[in-house]
Symmetry: D3
Subunit: 146 residues, 6 copies
C-alpha cells in the first residue's frame, strides 16, 4: 500500500462526500490513523474553535492534558488563520463561514515510525456575506506534533 | 453528473497523484473548467508568485489585461497567506516550501450559469526547515472572480 | 480635460467639504464615473462594512450578483485594513472610528477604455479613544475590478 | 549605581513577586522613574486596554492631553500584540489571559538626560484555554516617547 | 480662514499636481505647518523608509534626537502598512510601488494650540505587478505626536 | 523552594547581567531545567532564527528529530513575532535588532510532574534605526511543548 501523509488524509476527509468519507476513513485507519469529521457554521469564530476542540476531546483524539490541548488548539488556530487569508475575523468583518472539519491523529507520514504522533486539522467550506449563495470556498490546514 | 465547485476541483487537482490528476482534469474539463498543474520550490516567496503567474499566462488561463492579472495575483496572494498561517515569509523566517500548484478557471459551481468566471489557485506541499525531512504539509486556496 | 484616476477621485470625494463635493461629483460624472458619499461611525467594525455595502446596493453601484458583491466587499476590507494600520479592530482594542466613505465605479484611469470597470472605496475620518477630541485622522483605499 | 533602562525596569516590575516589587520600585524611583503595577484578567481584550489606561490616568502617569494618551495607547497596543504573537484576539479565538501589568515613565536609559521621557508598558501572565491550568506564560512590552 | 487638519493637508499635498501643490503649501505654511513632498519607487520596501526619513532630516522636519526619529519612523511604518492593506511586502510578494510622499509637521488641527506638534506622513501612488500599467492606486497615512 | 515557571526563568535569564545569570542558571538547574543564553544582532531576521536553532542543537537542548525542531522553531517564531509587535520584519522596514536570547527546557511549572517537557525562548534587547543609540528595548517569549 502506498504511503500516505497526515495532511493529505485530513484534506481528503474534510472535502469528501459521504460515500468517499467511509473509504478514506477505512484506509487511513488501517494505516494507524484515528479520524473524525464534523461540521460547524457561524459568524462567531470562537464557535469554530469550540466545535473542533469538543469533538477532539469527546472522540478521544486528545488526552486530557494541557500539552495535547495546546497542540490541537494551535492546529485549529493555524487552519482558522488560513481560511481567513490574512485578515482574521468573521462577524467583525461581516462575513460568515459554513465549514466541515476533519481531525486526524497519527504519524506525519504513514510509514514513518520515528517521529511520533501528530495532529492535523482541516477546515473546509464556504465563506462569504451573510446572504444565501454569496460565498466561495476556503480551506485551512494546521499540523502540530502531539 | 453531480455538481462540482471550483475550489474542490483545485484542491483535488493540487493534491492528486499523477494518475488521479488525469481523471480530475478530464471530469472538470467536461464541466467547462480549464485547469493547469505545476510545481515550484523555494525559500524566496516571489518565485512562487512568478511560477504561478507565468504558468497562467503561458497556458492562456488569463487574458493579457490588468484586471485578469489582478485577479490571479490576489488569488495567489490569498493562497500564499494561507500556507504561511499568520506569519508571512519563507527565507526571512528560515523556512522553505516545496509546492504543487493548481490553477482552475470556470464557474464557481459547475452548474451555475449566472455568476461568470472565477479563478481558483491552490498551493499544496511541504513547508519546513531547510533540512531534508524536517517539514510538514501546508495548503492554501485563493478564489476571485475574473 | 486632464485624465483622472479612480483612486484620486475617491480620495478627493471622501475628504471633500460639502461645497467641494459637488464639483468633484460633477467632473467625475462627466468622465463616466458613478459616485456616492456617506458616513458611518462606530466601535463595531461590522457596521462600517454594512454601511458601505448597503449604500452601494441601494445606489445601484453594484448589481445583485455575487461577483460584484465580492468586489466591493474586498475593496471595503482593504480600506478597513488600511485605516487600522496593521492591527485590525476597533472596539476590541478600545478605539472608535468616525468616517466619511466614498464609493466610485468606473474606469481605472478616466481615458482607459480597455480595462473595464473598477470599484474604489475610501474610508476617511478620525480614529481614537472613545473620548471626545482624543483622535487623529486615518485614510484607507481599496480598489478591485468589478 | 549602574544605569538601568526603562524596558528592563518594566519587565522586572511586571514579573516580580510582592517582595521583589518593592525593591524594584524604590531603586527605579531613585533614578527618576514613576511606576505602577496592576492586574487584569479577561477574554475581552478591550478590558486590558481599559485597565491599563485607567490606571495610568488615575496614578497621574500621563497628563490629560491627547498626545500622552496616544503614547500610552500605542504602548499597550504593542504589548498586547506581542502577547498575542501574530494572531490578535482572545475570546474570539477562544482563549483567555490573566495578566499583571506595569507602567513605567521616565528616561529611556536612566542616565540619559537628552532624550526626554518615555512610557513602557509590560503585560505578563498566562494565556490559554478557558480551563483551569490549561495555559502558559506570555509577555509583551511596548515603548513610546511621551 | 477655515480650520484644517494635519492629515487632510498631508493627503492633499501628496495627491496634488504640481500647480495644486504650491497653493496647498502656501496655505498650510500660513497656518503654521511645515511641509515637504518627494517621490520614491521601488520593489524594496526599505528604500521607501530611507527616502522619507532622509528627506525629513535634510529638510529639518525632525530634530536629530531619537524621540523625533521614532515618531517619523512609526508614521512611515503606519502609512506603509496601509498601502500594503494587510499583507506587508513588495518584492517578496512580486509587486512594486511608485509613490509620492508628503511629510507635514504642525498642530493636529490648525487652530489647536494645546496639543503640541504632530507628524503626518502620506504615501500615495501606484502598486502592482512589475509590468507597465499593471497597477492601481494605493494610499497610506500615519500620524504621531512629535 | 518556591515553585518557578519556565517563562519567568527564560525572561530572567535573557535580561540578566553576567553575575545575575549564574545564580538563575544554578537555581533553575536544581529544579530540573536546562538553560542556554546567547546573543545575536542583525537586520536579517533569518540570522536570529539560525542563531537560536544552532545553539539549541549544539547544546543538546533538542534531540535531532523533526518534532523537537518544530517545537523550537515555533517558539522562536512566536518570540520573533512578539518583538516585531504586529509588523514583522527588520531590514525590510529599515530597522535592526541587537538581542540576547535564552533557551529553557523543562516543566511548564517547576513542581508539575504530569505535563511533560516544554521549551521557552526569550529574545530581549534593542530594536531601532540603523543609527547608534536610536533604539529602544523589545522582548518576546514563545513557549511550546517538546
Amino acid at each position: 500500500m502506498e504511503a500516505l501523509s497526515i495532511g493529505k488524509i485530513a484534506v481528503l476527509y474534510a472535502i469528501s462526500t459521504k460515500s468517499e468519507a467511509e473509504e478514506i476513513c477505512q484506509k487511513a485507519s488501517e494505516m494507524g490513523y484515528r479520524l473524525y469529521k464534523g461540521s460547524v457554521g457561524s459568524m462567531d469564530s470562537a464557535k469554530i474553535f469550540a466545535a473542533v476542540e469538543t469533538a477532539a476531546k469527546k472522540e478521544g483524539l486528545i488526552n486530557p492534558i494541557y500539552r495535547e490541548e495546546h497542540s490541537i488548539y494551535h492546529s485549529i488556530l493555524e487552519a482558522y488563520t488560513a481560511i481567513c487569508r490574512g485578515r482574521e475575523g468573521l462577524g467583525n468583518v461581516l462575513r460568515s463561514a459554513g465549514l466541515a472539519f476533519s481531525i486526524v491523529r497519527g504519524p506525519r507520514i504513514s510509514n514513518d515510525k520515528n517521529d511520533g504522533e501528530w495532529i492535523a486539522i482541516v477546515l473546509f467550506g464556504n465563506m462569504g456575506a451573510p446572504i444565501k449563495g454569496y460565498e466561495h470556498e476556503v480551506i485551512g490546514l494546521g499540523i502540530n506534533p502531539v
